[in-house]
């Protein structure tokens, strides 16, 4: 198995300003991936033989009913969950073969996760929430604060850096969450219903941010019902239904 340090070095080498993925064939590749949960005697097949190849820089949108398996798929891609069977490669790395410590490092460097319910750490301010992934990555403190402030500025939240999550509106919390997802400049952005709890104006801002990130070369994978996102001009569209992934193209 690859050591953490080796991977970090490899991950760093893939992340320059232009996102040159010459060495990476697929940002995400799932081959016959299934995820089964067991609750007592009940067996729930959240993902059934998923096959999906996402090239670097693509904008992928997956829609589907609640309970269809969208979040599970995103969790598996984001190394928050592991498949029960099948082969999963993210940035050509078989992440499910590694232990949780490695997967944590992988999440830190390679994927930026945007959750439906924002999931900001309640004891940290907006600025600290954005700084947190960078602090885990051992950057220098001065650099971290400057980068975090720039990210907050980018999501138009630099006027409230010292506010705790409960002091922010839903749209503001989601913008901070997006800034946090960009913190370590990951090549892949994963978003789970990012606009579901937001009003129209906030939702539009999030949609634009995701488009910008994709335009910069980041791979964006979004699970959503939002027609505005589904209708993105470059989107590859899929639908989840009972744990199965169907292409809409």
């Amino acid at each position: 198995m690859m050591a953490d340090d080796d991977y970090l070095e490899a991950a760093d080498s893939t992340r320059d300003d232009t996102y040159d993925y010459d060495d990476v064939q697929f940002a995400v590749r799932l081959t016959d991936v299934s995820r089964v949960y067991r609750m007592g005697s009940n067996k729930i097949e959240a993902l059934r033989n998923i096959n999906l190849e996402i090239e670097p820089g693509q904008y992928v949108v997956v829609s589907g009913h609640s309970g269809s398996g969208k979040t599970t798929l995103l969790n598996v891609i984001g190394a928050i969950d592991v498949p029960s069977s099948g082969r999963l490669l993210v940035m050509d790395v078989p992440i499910s073969d590694y232990d949780e410590s490695f997967r944590a490092t992988f999440r830190l460097t390679t994927t930026g996760f945007i959750f439906q319910s924002y999931n900001l750490v309640s004891t940290l301010t907006a600025l600290e929430n954005v700084m947190f992934p960078m602090q885990m990555y051992d950057k220098t403190p001065d650099e971290i604060e400057e980068v975090a402030m720039n990210l907050l500025a980018r999501v138009k939240m630099d006027h409230r850096p010292d506010h705790l999550p409960w002091q922010l509106s839903s749209g503001e919390q989601q913008r901070v969450a997006i800034a946090r997802a960009m913190a370590n400049d990951p090549p892949i952005i994963l978003a789970d219903e990012p606009t579901a709890n937001l009003d129209g104006e906030s939702g539009q801002m999030i949609r634009e941010l995701l488009s910008e990130l994709n335009a910069e070369g980041k791979t964006v994978v979004v699970m959503t019902h939002d027609e505005g996102i589904i209708g993105h001009k470059n989107a590859r569209r899929f639908t989840m239904e009972n744990g199965e992934l169907k292409s809409n193209v």
Binding site: T71, N75, G78, I80, D81, E100, S101, A104, T105, F106, R107, L108, T109, F113, F115, Q116, S117, N119, L120, V121, S122, T123, L124, T125, F132, P133, Q135, M136, Y137, L164, P165, W166, R180, N184, D192
Partner: protein, 617 residues
């Protein structure tokens, strides 16, 4: 209400992990504090009997003060920990309370429902905890009887103390659980459902410079101000008890040993009538017998010849000699005059009590002893120092009264520490005492040696034998007494360990409650890339943060109390004693804190399931 209790108990059963954790935590804390309190009472009894009656009353007072201080702290500690645990548990139910309010449940019903849960948890913990604590106490008593058979203490089953402890714990727990439930019931449902709202976060902490986990811990600890304060208070009490027992106990032991050495003198061989020596040193032993009327050595054959004193003084290795005149005599309490501010007039005190005491005639300017005393030095021949027990048993306010014997009256100048004859003794000018009885010379010669050299002692013995006298190795009695003091204070060590156990349990419970109340935050951190070990380190840092907030002041307070308040003329075995003891207590403290953080550390290091959506609000 019965339906409500049924629901309440079902709710507890549905949360088995949390319920068991709280009951276990409360039970162990109650068991340990019950044991400390009951066993501490026995220790107090022992120290009172061993020291108060054998030594001076002043010394007995500070031994009692020391042990009573510990017991009082233990009692408060138990009540604080019980109230903290129950209160913390109820704080974790805020969201449930908010939910019930949002559904339209009546306030009284909500209050009764959660109070029923609290009472079930509290009563079961108190009953089991006190039962376990009592069993531990009985085991302790068996151990005590086996390890130090010579000790005297009252051995009655402490039913009143047990009842008192149970009542205090139940009352403290009941009212502590009432408060958070009542507060939450009064809140708007929206506030109770979102406990984060209006919460403040402390920005700067003691250990922030140690890294990110410590800065995170500062924010976590700073958020739950009430719970943290109570936990810090209970840790402060636990660590104060442990520190006082270790630091203070060591100082008390050394001080009492020092007092004994000062009163008896080091490297001393006694010369005198063999029968006198046997009775005298039997009365000098902590486990020996007091003197009686048979102690009568005033005849000329008991008086040590001046030539023998000269011969012994001329031996190489003899550093000092002291002649004493000992008389066992009837004594009487002399009246004293004191001003009574109530009646604004002087009044007579004293009941003319009579008794018997050993009168020790010393030459104040040449004595080898250096007694610890409370009062004033003797500057006239008609003055006397009293032993503690004599002062305690026969006098009302000894320092303004007089000691009478042989129709003479001697002003009492001080109370002296000396364990001779169980403290039923008095020190006075030798010449004055000799004059009273019309005797010249001394019946006891104390010979202080450069070192306890057997060759030299044999020479002294040979000289003494030639004059018809014997010798006694006083050092042996001194050593025996020091061992007895050490044995009594060694009994305090289990109490220190139990106090640390209380701290461990209190902190562990705090950290577990802390973890489960903020599980979502930790899972979010994991989801954005924090390793399990990082989260676990945050928990250890949180433990250190809270533990040191309670521990460091506890250490400082216990050292100051032990040295400056509880123990007069405190002595330490060496200059390195205090620093070393403080460091060892500090290390024990850190070990306890780290041990308390192990369960949460293990929890986070083994938990791989971090699907955040499960914890989404």
């Amino acid at each position: 209400m019965s339906d409500l209790k049924g629901f309440a108990s079902k709710d507890l059963k549905r949360r088995p992990f949390r319920t068991i954790l709280v009951i276990l935590s409360l039970t162990t804390v109650i068991a340990s504090t019950t044991f400390i309190f009951l066993f501490g009472n026995v220790l107090l009894d022992i120290s009172s009997i061993t020291f108060s009656t054998s030594m001076s009353s002043s010394l007995g007072t500070f031994f009692s003060t020391f042990v009573w201080s510990i017991l009082l702290l233990v009692f408060i500690l138990g009540a604080v920990i019980v109230s903290t645990t129950v209160s913390l548990e109820m704080v974790t139910r805020r969201r449930d309370i908010g939910l019930m309010k949002a559904m339209g449940t009546l306030l009284d019903t909500i209050f009764d429902y959660f109070m029923a849960q609290s009472v079930i948890v509290l009563l079961s913990s108190v009953v089991v905890g006190i039962a376990v604590g009592t069993v531990l106490y009985l085991l302790g008593m068996i151990w005590l009887g086996a390890s130090i058979p010579g000790l005297v203490y009252s051995n009655e089953f402490p039913i009143i103390q047990i009842g008192l402890i149970a009542a205090v714990y139940i009352i403290a727990g009941y009212f502590s659980s009432q408060k958070p439930i009542y507060d939450t019931v009064q809140e708007f449902p929206s506030v109770a459902l979102n406990p984060e709202v209006a919460s403040r976060v402390r920005r700067v902490g003691l250990l922030d410079n140690l890294g990110l986990p410590f800065r995170m811990a500062t924010k976590n600890v700073g958020r739950r101000v009430k719970g943290t304060r109570r936990t810090v208070l209970s840790l402060f009490l636990s660590f104060t008890i442990a520190s006082m027992l270790w630091v203070g106990g060591g100082i008390v032991e050394t001080t009492s040993e020092s007092y004994v050495i000062r009163s008896m003198g080091n490297n001393v061989v006694a010369v005198g009538n063999p029968a006198l020596l046997e009775q005298y040193y039997n009365a000098y032993s902590l486990y020996g017998n007091p003197l009686n009327d048979s102690f009568d050595y005033r005849s000329s054959s008991d008086i040590i010849p001046a030539q023998l004193v000269t011969d012994i003084e001329s031996l190489l290795g003899v550093t000092d000699t002291e002649q004493r005149f000992l008389v066992y005599s009837d004594v009487e309490e002399g009246a004293g005059i004191v001003y009574n501010p109530v009646v604004e007039d002087y009044e007579r005190i004293g009941q003319d009590r009579t008794g018997e005491a050993l009168l020790v005639g010393v030459d104040w300017g040449e004595t080898i002893a250096d007694w610890y005393f409370e009062g004033m030095a003797v500057n006239e021949s008609q003055q006397v120092w009293l032993g503690g027990t004599l002062a305690q048993e026969m006098f009302e306010d000894p320092l303004v009264q007089s000691l009478q014997f042989q129709e003479e009256s001697l002003a009492i100048r001080a109370l002296a520490f000396d364990i001779l004859n169980g403290g039923r003794m008095a020190l006075l000018d030798r010449a004055t005492l000799q004059d009273f009885w019309g005797v010249s010379g001394a019946n006891l010669l104390l010979v202080q040696l450069d070192s306890y050299d057997e060759v030299l002692i044999s020479q002294i013995e040979a000289l003494a034998s030639a004059s018809g006298f014997g010798i006694f190795r006083q050092q042996e009695v001194l050593t025996e007494n020091l061992q007895a003091i050490g044995a009594v204070w060694s009994l305090l060590n289990p109490l220190a360990i139990m106090a640390l156990l209380s701290a461990f349990l209190g902190l562990m419970n705090y950290l577990l409650v802390s973890v489960f109340s903020r599980l979502r935050d930790y899972v979010i951190m994991r989801s954005v890339g924090a390793k399990p070990s990082f989260i676990a380190t945050v928990m250890v840092a949180e433990g250190l943060n809270v533990g040191l907030q309670g521990g460091l002041p506890a250490l400082a307070v216990s050292v100051i109390l032990s040295i400056y308040v509880l123990i007069p003329e405190a002595a330490v075995p060496s200059t390195a004693y205090l620093p070393l003891t403080i460091v060892s207590v500090f290390v024990a403290m850190v070990v306890v804190i780290i041990l308390a953080a192990i369960p949460v550390y293990v929890f986070f290091n083994t938990k791989d399931d971090i699907r955040v959506s499960e914890f989404a609000s």
